[in-house]
Subunit: 269 residues, 3 copies
């Protein structure tokens, strides 16, 4: 997908252990959640890695805008790593997990450069929350967006706050209290997605948006984005402490883990 | 409607003087605004009674979720009791009324258990505001939602704040400044309602939603709802003092009462 | 258009140098952005003049509601005066401009009487922002709404905040990060406009809305509008200092001015 640019694409992360591939051309960076499971679970190590990549891109003068994508044919993100989360017992490990989540969300919101999400497959829980921190969301015709926390037995404070902030209280209520999946058409109507294209077009379309933004005066773009995100970002920080209490409570009862084990054993798709 | 549950329904309010009927089965409670006028005006005594019922249900471990309904064939609520409000002179009785309203709204928002509204007929002013404190709103095909305060000559501070919080500023502006009725189709499009069904299905559909929520891990649900409602609830408290001043002013001029008397004498439907 | 009223229209601004015409009849005032360029650029002198007119109308007991319009066949407003703004160098003149903008927006939001916008042609940047301070927006079938700041190389803090407040974060993101024009249909769907009519009907339709509001008890209307606008208005004040910093930065680099000069030389339409 980088062949159509005039510049010479540079690949900034070539580390063989990385589960992300980053390519930069024509002032847009594409961060692909590659080399992970095709569903893109987010372990805490992957959260921290994505934070490091975004911070590096924020400092890179060749980058005006960023695309996040699970890649064509792979889900944008189906949530946390169940194998990790299912071992939680309601102690300090919950706080660390919330800290890692908070750092990820506030980094996406806090960098100075706009971020475009290209969403194929599933965006569930944490995956959807990553998308809700982005500035523009392009979905594929077959994508499915779900905020299933309550149904799975875990509190949904970040998800509730982020949905209400981005698409309003009423849509938030419907997503949390039905825990149903939103298909592309419904997500577009409810403004969760900004655009829908065919699956094989989402990355090129997202890249087109990112390059357009990247072509604009950087002082204007970067003098705007942090300001229009400031209230949202502060809300996430304020939520973190409360989320620790809620999640400690839920995980200490063991019901969430039991449900997750069941989902893992059945295979989630 | 409670016959389809597997549990033995229990009726917690059997007091002959009550204007509410409460039935519990399968972790869902249905609170029906029965034995009132079929339009369901809300006198202050009825507001206080509903508050007591909701607090009792919040403490009842058999209840995971609550349905509020005017009952099939009856309006969800057409507002305050005009016979009561039309006697206001702009003094302490206005403050007491605002206190009772505030207590009602903040109780619905503040309990730990989700509340589903099943709306048939009219939801006007206070009636619509009760619905706007709920988590999920199912309307009948023939329901009508109206925020007519300004047209009736009374300030609309609660209504304005609640509509803006739930469905956004633009829809709020349209409802307040046209004072028109929203039919089911428009209310669904504008996200005031989450679902529309036929009138004879609204209670069973709302109950189905409530039972689904009731089947989820209570610590997750109850660890989420108070948090996602906290900002909204605080906004209502902050509004109360301001609303007292606005309403004292409006009622001391006598015009609102004159309009209400006219509506009472014509019959409001 | 004032002929259909029963009262004798009065014209309060007859000053030959004014670029506004104000007529009052049947408790509604129409403020027409006349005698300007047909695109209605807003120089700072025009901002201050509009502020003075609105303050006078707020004190006029014959006025219950106000219509703002560029007039039929003329744009509602295409933004600031490029000839003025293109001379900015990033110093105190930027602060003064922000102060004049802030005064205009907070005056529209802060007066006690509802304001209806009748929008034909373009509403771009500052023009759209004026509309976003109004209570009800009637657009013509051929109107175009655009928030092009980022594309033009200037920060968009007011525009971002105002769009998010009025129509939500998701629509704001789309308008800012695509910088595309919204036609009437899309603007209606996204709740930027409340109604769409044919171009030759917008003023009479807006006037009809304003007269309806004007016929309502003034203590109710005027006891509500300042309250439902208070948070929004305070947000604008808080933004002003931040906007000064952002705009000084953008203008001191000269790129915005270069783009404006280009637009001026090509003719913007």
């Amino acid at each position: 997908m980088m062949n159509d640019g005039q510049g010479h694409p540079k690949t900034i992360v070539s580390d063989a252990s990385s589960t992300f591939a980053v390519k930069i051309a024509d002032r847009a960076a594409v961060v692909e959640f590659s080399r992970g499971h095709y569903q893109n679970h987010f372990s805490q190590e992957r959260m921290r890695e994505l934070v490091r990549i975004l911070r590096a891109l924020d400092l890179d003068d060749d980058v005006g805008s960023i695309v996040l994508t699970g890649g064509e044919g792979r889900s944008f993100g189906v949530g946390g790593d169940f194998h990790e989360v299912s071992k939680f017992v309601g102690g300090d490990e919950v706080d660390l997990w919330i800290d890692n989540l908070t750092e990820l969300y506030t980094t996406i919101l806090g960098i100075s450069k706009p971020v475009v999400a290209a969403i194929d497959g599933y965006a569930i829980g944490l995956g959807l929350q990553i998308a809700l921190c982005c500035d523009y969301r392009v979905g594929s015709e077959s994508c499915q967006l779900i905020m299933p926390e309550l149904k799975m037995g875990i509190a949904c404070n970040f998800g509730g706050y982020m949905l209400e902030t981005v698409v309003g209280r009423s849509v938030m209520q419907a997503m949390l209290f039905t825990a149903e999946g939103w298909n592309a058409e419904r997500a577009l109507k409810d403004h969760i997605l900004h655009e829908v294209t065919s699956a094989n077009q989402i990355v090129s379309r997202a890249l087109q948006c990112a390059r357009t933004i990247g072509s604009w005066t950087s002082s204007a773009v970067q003098g705007t984005r942090p300001n229009i995100n400031a209230t949202y970002l502060n809300g996430i920080y304020n939520l973190a402490e409360q989320a620790k209490r809620s999640h400690r409570g839920a995980f200490s009862q063991g019901q969430a883990q039991a449900r997750m084990e069941k989902i893992i054993s059945k295979g989630c798709k």
